[in-house]
């Protein structure tokens, strides 16, 4: 069920209505849990079992970990949890990729392994990581084990973040379990404001840009250098507005019920180095990779050389998390290499600092170029794109997509507002809007609609999305991961 569909709005309205009815807290949690299962089953009911099996396995393993102080036994249960999750993820996401590559290696022997055609369950990369974080945190004694099976199932299945994140950790979500569930005026205002901004990013920017990016990436050999750059920049903005828009909608939806989900994006294209970029881009994934993979590999505790290797490994696996393809591995490798290089620079030349503007421009150029292997379907397209970008391509078709100009304009306005307004409370009082902030979700804009100007702004925003939103209905990019 896509957030920008009528089906979802009807579903959301119904669940908000039901949770507004006075009933016991446990019953409301059961309602939310059941609705989340319906939400997931609406995609395909046969995969709901997978989601529930993962939640049962991790709940059980965490309980066994807590039941003993014997380190080898605790480690054994943790291993059981991680292996179960990775086995499920590996089978559904990577089996086809592995077998296809195996066939590539076996080509000289004349043998062939039959390739499995497996449908990737929606959101599997997100909910396995989410659930794994729980058993690891319980093992590390960072959080107390969840006492209620219902609470844990609700944490794993919670529909706003189920399909494409943010990857919510148990340590963030479980402490909110005792909050009253259901819509209040304040919750609806906060949630709907975030949702409106998110759907605006998706329909007014990302989906319009998809046309440009798709055209260029589908046949890079046809385009002139300038148009290929336009296509690449369009994709860089598309993926940002698509995914951050989705995250805004997810966080907004959760807020309507009274839950705070963590911030996932913080103006990443303003980063002045790659490390900063990963503190701003898909924050919940980069923090997950840092805390559960990089730290588990030894982090920076095992010497300089090992630190670089750990960085590279973390990013390679981070790339592979996005999709079963060598292009994603290349993307992860490039980011890992850049992170290692940045770290080495800081260690060997601590006093040498590049002016912030140049550092920002260089980072932006690097990150944008890295989207080429990420978006291209194969290496041949990646090479064709790079050749076109650097002027040695074959094509010369010239197209100046105007949608790119106004998308860049909208993103700049959004970034300027996001950079300056949160520090100036009351600056949007004339619109009856202000930046709200909580410790989990970060700053976000809240429209209160108590004045004529405020109501006008919200109504105009809704009408703009309705009349000028793209109608090509591109699926959310991160759904495929």
């Amino acid at each position: 069920m896509v957030f920008s569909s009528l089906r979802f709005f009807l579903f959301l309205g119904a669940i908000l209505g039901i949770t507004a009815i006075p009933m016991s807290h446990t019953r409301k949690k059961a309602v939310l849990c059941a609705s989340s299962c319906v939400f997931y089953a609406a995609w395909d009911y046969r995969y709901l079992a997978l989601l529930l099996i993962i939640s049962v396995i991790d709940y059980f393993c965490a309980a066994r970990i807590t039941a003993t102080e014997n380190i080898p036994v605790r480690k054994a249960w943790l291993t059981a949890s991680i292996v179960s999750n990775l086995a499920i993820l590996g089978f559904f996401k990577y089996a086809g990729f592995f077998l296809a590559n195996l066939n590539g290696l076996l080509v000289f022997t004349g043998r062939e392994v039959p390739v499995l055609r497996i449908i990737l369950p929606a959101g599997i990369s997100f909910y396995t990581f989410k659930s794994m974080s729980y058993t690891i945190d319980v093992f590390r004694k960072r959080i107390a084990p969840c006492k209620s099976r219902l609470d844990y199932t609700m944490f794993v299945t919670f529909f706003p973040d189920l399909i494409a994140g943010p990857i919510v950790r148990a340590s963030v979500f479980l402490p909110q379990m005792e909050r009253t569930i259901g819509p209040t005026r304040e919750r609806l205002l906060h949630g709907a404001s975030l949702f409106l901004v998110g759907i605006g990013k998706k329909l007014l920017v990302a989906d319009h840009l998809a046309v440009v990016a798709d055209a260029v990436f589908s046949a890079p050999q046809n385009w002139s250098c300038v148009t290929t750059w336009c296509g690449l920049v369009a994709y860089a903005l598309q993926i940002y507005c698509d995914f951050s828009g989705y995250s805004d909608m997810a966080i907004g939806t959760a807020k309507m019920f009274g839950y705070d989900l963590p911030e996932n994006f913080n103006m990443p294209y303003l980063a002045a180095n790659v490390a900063e970029f990963w503190h701003r881009w898909h924050i919940t994934l980069s923090e997950w990779l840092r805390d559960y993979l990089y730290v588990s590999l030894g982090g920076n505790r095992k010497g300089r050389a090992r630190t670089y290797v750990n960085l590279m490994l973390t990013m390679l696996l981070g790339g592979l998390w996005h999709g079963a393809g060598w292009n994603f591995v290349l993307w992860g490798f490039l980011h890992g290499f850049a992170l290692a290089l940045h770290r080495a620079w800081r260690e060997f030349f601590p006093a040498a600092r590049m002016p912030r503007f140049f550092a920002w421009a260089l980072t932006l150029l690097f990150v944008t170029l890295c989207w080429v292997p990420f978006r291209a379907p194969d290496f041949a397209t990646t090479i064709a794109m790079l050749r076109a970008l650097f002027g040695s391509g074959l094509g010369h078709n010239i197209w100046w997509p105007v949608v790119l100009a106004w998308s860049i304009g909208l993103v700049i306005i959004g970034h300027l507002a996001g950079s300056f307004l949160p520090a100036r409370p009351g600056s949007l009082r004339w619109l009856d809007a202000d930046y709200s902030s909580d410790s989990i979700s970060g700053p976000y804009l809240v429209f209160r609609m108590r004045t004529i100007a405020g109501s006008f702004a919200v109504a105009a925003a809704i009408l703009s999305i309705y009349f000028f939103g793209a109608l090509n209905a591109s699926p959310f990019i991160y759904f495929q991961f």
């Binding site: 148009t227 197209w399 105007v402 109504a459």
Partner: protein, 328 residues
């Protein structure tokens, strides 16, 4: 009291936003799917797929500076109507400048050969053209002329007959909506957008999306053989043989069987025909496309100003030769 005052403020703010959009939308026609180009209005702005400003007279003729002498009538669909480009950029205006005679642009979105046939007696009486240009694009001569929701062809006793679309019987709500659509741009575009969203909302079936992802065997499509030659002969007869066909093929496709049959019939019947494909090589050499705009797709959709220029040049060449032969 406080609730009432808040409610009033919300209502006023929302009404003001609706009013602002009503004013804005009255001037815009941003999608070919919203085909109400408003010929009753004099000035139309397009927002998407080009950004032309066009002017129209009360007869639905695109306004061009007055000229004396013979009249050249152009009938066609949205490729001729061309709200996507400014008045001076449309091929009809360019043709008027190149030939120095009056060219009347009677193009209207969604029309097809059956309409040109049905309208032939009326437009000839009304405009008394010395010569007529009929613009045809690729689908016009194939399945577009056989869609029964608009004017279309029927086979009757072995003859091809143009027929009007059956008039739909409107219910009370549909009549009310139609009236509202005529009076309010907001309602008109709002309903049109709603229809588009509804079409898009055809999502995978609930609970079984994985089945959709599995490859399905292609269902064979029954072959349709369009009566290209019959359609062209009927139009030639209806306009007294005093016409030129302008054929607008697709840019990124090779000539298909319909286009080949069109050209073969033109040659066999010694008709005056112009095929825009002749100019395609020049576009490819320059890395340009005759179709598409910076705010739509490259090489797809309607003709841009470059495409119109090429069409006008080709037509001017053909029509000058006809004039030299004293045909009009």
């Amino acid at each position: 009291m406080r609730i009432l005052s808040t409610f009033l403020r919300i209502a006023i703010g929302t009404l003001l936003a609706l009013l602002a959009f009503e004013i804005l939308l009255r001037h815009l026609s941003w999608s070919s799917s919203i085909s109400e180009s408003g010929h009753g209005s004099t000035e139309i702005y397009r927002l998407l797929e080009g950004w032309g400003v066009s002017h129209w007279d009360s007869r639905g003729i695109r306004v061009t500076p007055p000229k004396a002498g013979p009249v050249l009538l152009v009938v066609g669909d949205s490729y001729t109507e061309s709200g996507h480009v400014d008045d001076d950029d449309v091929y009809t205006s360019r043709l008027q400048s190149l030939l120095g005679i009056k060219v009347l642009n009677d193009g209207l979105s969604t029309l097809s050969p059956a309409d040109y046939l049905l309208a032939a007696p009326e437009v000839q009486t009304r405009f008394r053209p010395s010569w007529t240009i009929i613009e045809l694009n690729a689908p016009d001569l194939s399945d577009d002329g056989f869609i029964d929701s608009k004017a279309h062809f029927l086979w009757r006793e072995g003859k091809l007959v143009p027929t009007l679309a059956p008039q739909a019987k409107l219910g009370r709500i549909s009549r009310l909506l139609a009236r509202l659509r005529r009076r309010s741009a907001l309602m008109n575009y709002g309903i049109a957008r709603g229809t588009m969203f509804r079409a898009l909302a055809q999502m995978p079936p609930l609970f079984r999306a994985a089945d959709e992802a599995a490859p399905k065997p292609a269902t064979p499509h029954p072959a349709f053989t369009p009566p290209v030659e019959n359609e062209l002969s009927l139009m030639t007869a209806a306009y007294g043989g005093r016409l030129t066909f302008l054929f607008i093929p697709e840019f990124n496709k090779e000539a298909d069987v319909v286009e080949k049959r069109f050209l073969a019939h033109c040659a066999a019947a010694r008709l005056s025909c112009v095929d825009l494909r002749v100019a395609f090589d020049d576009f490819r050499t320059r890395g340009r496309a005759p179709f598409g705009f910076p705010n739509s797709y490259f090489g797809q959709g309607h003709m841009n100003a470059d495409g119109h220029r090429a069409a006008a040049d080709l037509l001017a060449h053909e029509l000058s030769s006809l004039r030299r032969r004293g045909l009009f």
